[in-house]
């Protein structure tokens, strides 16, 4: 699973850090740190975070959910 957050869009609503605290963490009140390749066991947490983001700043690939912007298994990287 791969995750990236557009931190230009991010306004620090912290929904992701509430819903997937093993993947996303607030660093201070507003800055966000996250793991770009979280463990597969965090799949639902990551999907919850992605859906909850009020500014839709989170892109997820490989979480196996048809509704995310980047659906399952589209990576054809080298």
């Amino acid at each position: 699973m791969r995750v990236v957050v557009d931190l230009n869009r991010c306004q620090g609503y912290a929904q992701c850090a509430f819903l997937a605290p093993d993947v996303f963490a607030m660093h201070g009140e507003e800055a966000l740190l996250y793991d770009g390749e979280p463990d597969g066991t965090r799949r639902l947490d990551v999907l919850r975070a992605e859906a909850a983001c009020p500014v839709k700043a989170i892109t997820v690939e490989g979480a196996g959910a048809a509704w995310t912007a980047a659906g399952a298994g589209v990576s054809n990287g080298p």
Binding site: L7, G12, G36, G77
Partner: protein, 468 residues
């Protein structure tokens, strides 16, 4: 949609080459496929890795919270590309439409996108730069090496340059409880990007977190011990500091050397292109089949007097890549301009710093909400009586409002009442940008001349501009 024959053929079976396999290159590739390009897509990158995200490197990766290889960028869709990774582009033949690679091969194109980005400006003295313990931070490998060294617990880290990257590295060191000295040529950290009024707040953050911050000094030399390890740094004020690690954070230089002699208007300030991302050649005429996007591009922005802006910004790379990709495969009248309002963020000392617009064009600043002393505020920048930029410290939710003010060329200082206006928000003060003739460390936006034919777009011979 009626397409003329050649464009239709290009979209169906053309050859598009993207030089630069990072954020801009990847997003452009995705956009090309999204918009129906079914031909051959070749991605050329000098690093051996598939596209990864760089901002985490100076934050969660250096902190040790996330491994450096956990930064690969998710794909928004399949791009079915031929990847040529680990092979840098070394030359461009515009008339033959061919890119030469470091491995001796070459790739032909019908349309070319240049997204080669920037690299860290190295320490100018090569001998000193080669000392064990002297680092730069730009790539995943840089981050892995530096993180390994920080983990070993050096007696002191010297950060040379207090721009955004230097300040973020200093912040990480303090969080890792490492003694750190920061040397900055300007009067404050971040003064080149945000001016010294905000820079003073940044300096307070450094001090509050135990950084030995030295402003107004230059590092004049790095001294090794007998076996080639960094031991000491010398400053222009005669002082010295003993350090086992030095991180050179003097900003970036654009990866354009490979274009020397190609006939494109490429130089140390980047590659000039029009608002539609088409590259200019040295005569100031746009090429129809060569496009530019990301950190390496310089393009005119209507909001800022059509000045050519070079933006080392994540969001700019994405937005410009999308525009470039669209324009590469559409009819002339369907081309779009790249009108992105510059947006930038940095996280340091637990504070989220965001800016919108082009602060370093400003002459004045006003703290419109909150308080500098509390390190939570929103400040607006003014230029000739208009709002030109804004910055927030831990107040990102207000930034959109100021973006609209910029886009509407709203009057400065803002003539209205707002929530959380303090006494310091009653009148504007000089923003405190350094004289542009005195370079500071790594401003994230550089503003240059007004037209593609000004003196900066000149043929630049090979070997130019390492220490521009």
């Amino acid at each position: 949609m009626a397409l003329d024959g050649s464009l239709e053929r290009l979209r169906r079976e053309g050859r598009i080459v993207v030089v630069g396999a990072s954020l801009a290159g990847l997003r452009a590739a995705e956009t090309l496929r999204e918009e129906g390009f079914t031909g051959t897509l070749t991605m050329i990158g000098d690093e051996p890795y598939e596209p990864y995200d760089r901002p985490p490197l100076s934050k969660q990766v250096l902190l040790g919270r996330v491994p450096a290889d956990h930064t690969a960028l998710p794909r928004r869709r399949a791009i079915e590309a031929q990847w040529r990774l680990g092979a840098a582009a070394t030359g461009l033949d515009l008339s033959a439409k061919r890119v030469a690679l470091a491995d001796g091969t070459s790739v032909e194109y019908d349309r070319l996108l240049i997204a080669t980005g920037v690299r860290s400006r190295p320490w100018p003295n090569e001998l000193e730069a080669g000392l064990d313990g002297v680092f730069v931070l730009r790539t995943r490998d840089d981050a892995t090496r530096l993180r390994h060294r920080l983990k070993a617990g050096p007696s002191r880290v010297l950060v040379i340059g207090a721009g955004f990257t230097g300040s973020e590295i200093a912040s990480v060191c303090r969080e890792r409880d490492l003694p750190v000295t920061v040397a900055e040529r300007g009067p404050t950290p971040l003064s080149g990007a945000l001016g010294s009024v905000i820079g003073d707040v940044a300096a307070q953050l450094h001090h509050q977190h135990g950084v030995d911050l030295r402003c107004g000094v230059m590092v004049t030399g790095l001294e090794g011990d007998g076996v080639g390890r960094l031991r000491r740094a010398h400053f222009s004020d005669g002082g010295t500091v003993d350090a086992e690690v030095a991180v050179v954070a003097l900003g970036a230089t654009r990866n354009t050397e490979w274009l020397a002699g190609s006939g494109l208007a490429a130089g140390p300030r980047g590659i000039a292109c029009d608002a539609g991302c088409r590259a200019f050649d040295v005569r100031g005429i746009v090429a129809d089949d060569v496009f530019v996007a990301g950190d390496v591009a310089r393009s005119p922005h209507p909001l800022f007097g059509y000045r050519f802006l070079s933006l080392e910004h994540w969001g700019n790379a994405v937005a410009q890549a999308e525009v470039a990709a669209h324009n590469m495969i559409c009819r002339g009248e369907e081309r779009r301009p790249h009108l992105w309002t510059p947006y930038f963020w940095s996280a340091q000392f637990g504070v989220n710093i965001k800016s919108v617009g082009v602060p370093n064009m400003a002459d004045q600043i006003i703290v419109s909400q909150g308080s500098l002393g509390e390190h939570r505020f929103t400040a607006a920048y003014g230029y000739q009586g208009r709002v030109i930029a804004a910055v927030t410290f831990d107040q990102a939710k207000w930034l959109e409002f100021y973006q609209r003010q910029i886009e509407q060329a709203a009057p400065f200082p803002p003539p209205f009442a707002t929530v959380d206006r303090r006494t310091e928000g009653m009148r504007p003060v000089p923003a405190g940008f350094p004289d542009p003739s005195v370079p500071t460390h790594g401003p994230q936006v550089t503003v240059s001349g007004y037209s593609p034919t000004d003196q900066r777009v000149t043929f630049t011979p090979a070997g130019h501009g390492h220490h521009a």
